[in-house]
Assembly symmetry: C2
Homo-oligomer: 143 residues x 2
DNA sequence: TATTGTTATACTCTATAACTATA
DNA sequence: TATAGTTATAGAGTATAACAATA
């Protein structure tokens, strides 16, 4: 039999989870929607390095045909670019255009500004609490 | 001209936002998917009180026809029930079946358990930090 | 006439299966 | 023969427009 979970821990877990989900939803709903969510996910993956279509499908956990169509849309919109892989003719390397990079950066900036506005009135001590809590959360979800 | 945002505040805002989004995504991806997200959203809205189709469409921010189809699915699956409104023949009141309530409760329990497991190793002081940070977040996103 | 909800139709994202091109 | 990616087709979500029933 497993240890009983103290009520306080269970309540905290539930509250932490819900607070994160509330923040997450507000961030997504209140900010720039220049592209659809599945498209934005791909653009973010391309931010730091080009990827093949297959890598993107795996990263986004969608099928190859689905990624193929998403890339059609992004390329048609001028946000991404497909180029032949010189080493392997079967592969296509996908890169971000300046316009695509701009969409990602604008969206991230919009989301961060949203949060900055919400943290502005807090005291130094409260900000320190959030700083530590943020680090704790990132640590425990990696475990 | 607006005040410049101190670097530390901007960094914290970005980190808080991302931590919440990471937690939120893990909660959604790692746990029970008995019904699709848009269906779960409706079931949750019905948890505490019945709603009309129009209310649900407004709450979920989808069109009336879209909600109509979602309700078709939930009713066909035995998770929700459409009943005539005695006061207004145009309206249909949607309620949760026992099975629908069970789906919601199981999913919530699964998500909370996931978070409990992640908080278990933390010290009393760390838990207190999370407690305060959670309350702070809920407060600022309501502002 | 206004409101609630469904049906008609179309578009997009999802998938699996079949196909092409390359290794 | 195996792999990378696209095309073919189907299923389910979204929407707007048109319709039925009721207020």
């Amino acid at each position: 039999m497993s240890d009983p979970v103290p009520d306080a821990l269970h309540t905290l877990a539930s509250d932490v989870r819900m607070a994160c989900q509330h923040v997450s939803r507000r961030v997504r709903f209140d900010n720039a929607h220049e592209v659809a969510p599945h498209q934005f996910g791909v653009l973010v993956k391309l931010l730091h390095s080009p990827r093949t279509a297959g890598e993107l499908a795996a990263l986004e956990q969608v099928s190859a045909p689905s990624m193929s169509r998403t890339l059609n849309g992004l390329c048609a919109a001028g946000l991404a670019l497909r180029t032949a892989d010189p080493d392997d003719g079967r592969r296509q390397v996908v890169t971000l255009t300046d316009s695509g990079r701009s969409v990602v950066e604008r969206t991230i900036a919009s989301r961060d500004d949203w949060m900055v506005r919400r943290l502005k009135g807090l005291s130094e001590r409260e900000l320190a609490v959030l700083r530590e809590a943020t680090d704790l959360l990132e640590r425990v979800i990696r475990a």
